[in-house]
């Protein structure tokens, strides 16, 4: 059960430019929490549009649960009900008269019966923390963060197995950002939804993801766990991506002798860094 890309390439019609995607092979298994990182122009946005068939590759195959999604007769509409995609600034797609109706748009398109549509819409809005009092309001009356949550509910209402989000925290302040990331974590842990997060801040996702895929100039450069990926510090910096603050802090402490050369200490999060330093401190105190 997975989304699989086999040797996928994508070339724009204006073929003087380099391909947007070049021979990308990857697999996203059901239940994973994946991060896709890359600089602007790395192809990450083009990549995710291949997952739900919005873009058709010029080379290679896209398989969903083993089936080629671009074969004759395959229902892409049905696929999009299973593989939800939220673009950057998803609140720009809101259009209905009320919040509730807008969230119903997705399930309605899937041809579900009316009571099922309403049930799903309610559940989705509850998941994102939008209280009933907002249901009859116009989406355009809401704050930026609220609009975004409604937009995300609109996709959750289709009950997708996979949920891809392109920079879901763009433009949000720290609290708004945490809220969205916590929501995604909950969706992953409580609902078993496979989450795929596109970002250019590896720092943001390091805490949450099982694997990071790093894109550069249309190619898949790295595909590994966060700690493995962050070993390639120099290459990442060359690509315009930086390793998380705490990771490079530990490195520098090691360079300056705070940790011994061969110490296995590493950290990605604040808590990990704190632990590592505290242990060292306590050891120092004892000696």
């Amino acid at each position: 059960m997975s989304i699989k890309l086999e040797n996928v390439s994508y070339q724009y019609r204006d073929s003087k430019r380099r391909p947007a995607l070049s021979h990308v092979t990857l697999e996203i298994k059901k239940g994973e929490f994946i991060g896709i990182a890359g600089h602007t122009g790395s192809g990450k946005s083009t990549l995710i549009q291949h997952f739900n068939g919005l873009i058709r590759p010029t080379g290679g195959t896209v398989l969903f649960d083993g089936e080629n999604i671009h074969e004759q007769g395959y229902s892409l509409k049905e696929l999009r009900g299973k593989v939800g995609l939220s673009f950057q600034y998803p609140e720009h797609q809101l259009f209905e008269v009320t919040v509730f109706e807008d969230v119903c748009f997705g399930p309605k398109n899937l041809g579900l019966p009316q009571d099922e549509i309403q049930k799903r819409a309610k559940q989705a809005l509850e998941l994102v923390g939008m209280d009933e009092k907002y249901y009859e309001k116009s989406p355009f009356e809401l704050s930026g963060g609220q609009k975004r949550r409604v937009a995300i509910a609109g996709i959750l209402a289709m009950e997708p197995e996979y949920f891809i989000l392109d920079e879901p925290t763009a433009g949000l302040d720290p609290v708004g950002r945490d809220r969205i990331l916590q929501l995604l974590k909950r969706l992953h842990e409580e609902k078993g939804i496979t989450i795929i997060l596109v970002t250019h801040s590896m720092e943001e996702i390091a805490d949450y993801v099982d694997r990071i895929l790093v894109m550069e100039q249309g190619r898949l450069r790295f595909d590994d766990t966060p700690s493995e990926v962050f070993q390639h510090k120099d290459e990442l910096e060359q690509m315009g991506l930086s390793v998380p603050f705490y990771s490079s802090l530990i490195d520098e402490l090691r360079q300056n002798g705070y940790f011994s050369e061969d110490s296995e200490v590493s950290a990605i999060t604040l808590q990990e860094a704190k632990q590592a330093i505290l242990e060292n401190w306590k050891r120092d105190q004892q000696s």
Partner: protein, 266 residues
Amino acid sequence: MIREITIGQYYRADSMIHQLDPRTKIAGTILFIISLFVGKSIPAYIISVVLLAAVIKISTVPFSYMIRGLKAVFAILIFSVVINMFFIPGEVIIDFGFADISREGMQTAVFMAIRLVFLILGSSLMTLTTTPNQLTDGMEKLLNPLKKIGIPVHEIAMMMSIALRFIPILTEELDKIMKAQMARGAEYDQGNLIKKIKSVVPVLVPLFISSVRRANDLAMAMESRCYHGGEGRTKMKPLVYHKRDYISYAILLCYLAVIIAIRVKM
């Protein structure tokens, strides 16, 4: 990316034609189009061809760019040729049995085709050698006298210029919104006409709203940069006629005179 397709397809170069005042080019294109309808004969069209070819050569714009404009109207061209060839009554020269082609039909068809092709080539030449800004500046200056009768010429020119600037942006946004709704299962080509029209609402409403937001932002930006209407504005690139413009006008007038003369003689 979609937004790299420029409107009018300006071809950057430094030819004499590029350097002409946009007013000269606008007036010239209009006069040329008029001449196509005045000169209704082969000799006249030959002279038109000569002028057009000469200008194209001087402009250094590759012919392949000129052809692009024709591609768009290819269907209309064929359609009007066929209609004229087969449906204008007169002296039959070819008979297919179920339909026939008359001499008058043939002539009308050929002339119409020539006019359409030259019209497209002439206008393309104007947009290929003049930037959108130059065009709006040129039109603003040409229509300036209309200010006296209360027409807001400056404001209209400013609106056109801003519209040109934002068309690629709106096009790209349209694409993005369409894709976002498709990701929610929307389809645009299903069902009867009513259904198809309804499927456009989830795309137009967000586009409209974002356009209003843009307009608001833009108004703030313009005010912040001290825009307060056309009064007291100076120009970075004021339009000033040079010798080459006067010569061009002279050539155009001679050309027009010749065309009229041929017409009168016939």
